[in-house]
Symmetry: C2
Subunit: 193 residues, 2 copies
């Protein structure tokens, strides 16, 4: 997706060979118009899949996911990183490790909002090691729901996330694929060919 | 706003006399169409105020705020509850106490994204004691930005939030005002008249 690729090239800040900071349009300040366009793109890709729910994880996944949900005219469901005091009934739970933050979070979805009648599209901001997307897929599986695919904004293609998701049988669509962050610059997949 | 009031009455779960759970359309599963309509309403109320940025706080504020930002065609900026490892430059910081969670969070906005050229509209899901909105207003003040107003989805009018915000000179617009949660039921302001 050209608009997103342009933003990544113009506004992305390379922190080191593994970390790309996109606080200017995604992870702190958010470009709402760009999120809207992203909703259009994922809708065009997955509109025939019978999607009933968009599934994401707080906090950075919410902005793109709500726009995708709006375009599909279905609810957006975000997994929580801590069990709220008000969640006393049943829930699905799995562990997700963040390599960036070096921390394992138990993520939770209430069983009120996900069932074997659902077909979910997983949306997340980044794909690196695939931990968050695989965790969301496990939550869907616990509910007996089908995962139609995984929609990612920025894929770090030099990390194993895509391979792990594909091994799990998931269809992955990434709007911007980063081949490398070496030499303090962003190289997109295809750019060096 | 009738659509939101209806949702609160139909889907809101009274936990106790102070806590209303709205996980069905706002705080866990999110009604994307309703968030879109909320963007329209706040835009119609604040469109003449020269808003340059929508300011909110993670995580539950993001969904309505991004829709408001989209309608205003301005960026959405969300304050973070923890300093990210990638935020090494200057930032504004203030403390926000959550009475529900009985926890004080230091909330942060990078000084890259807020300046004395900005006029912000603060958006949040709930108004109870006003801590989050006042904290966001302090962040705006630290940046020299103007706060045009505070847009709230659900106000608990039996708690002091609105009074505290108005004392601070802020214009408050709440789309649904809850007068009481007593007797295990939601009474909206005006309903008992």
């Amino acid at each position: 997706m050209d608009a997103l690729k342009r933003k990544v090239m113009e506004d992305g800040v390379v922190i080191d060979e593994r970390i790309l900071k996109v606080d200017g349009f995604l992870n702190h300040q958010i470009d709402a118009g760009l999120m809207y366009e992203i909703g259009e793109v994922f809708h065009s890709q997955f509109q025939d899949q019978g999607i009933t729910k968009i599934l994401t994880i707080e906090a950075s996944g919410i902005a793109p996911a709500i726009m995708v949900a709006h375009r599909f005219n279905v609810p957006c469901l975000f997994a929580k990183k801590a069990k709220p005091s008000t969640l006393n009934q049943g829930y699905y739970q799995t562990d997700v490790h963040s390599f960036t933050k070096n921390k394992t979070n138990s993520v939770i979805v209430s069983n009120e909002f996900l069932s074997d009648q659902d077909t979910v599209l997983i949306i997340d901001d980044f794909l690196a090691n695939g931990e968050a997307a695989l965790g969301l897929h496990r939550l869907a599986q616990q509910a007996g729901a089908k995962t139609a695919g995984v929609g990612i904004l920025v894929e770090k293609s030099f990390q194993p996330g895509r391979a792990r998701l594909e091994e799990a049988g998931l269809v992955v669509s990434s709007l911007c694929q980063v081949a490398s962050l070496k030499g303090n610059k962003v190289t997109l997949l295809g750019d060096d060919q």
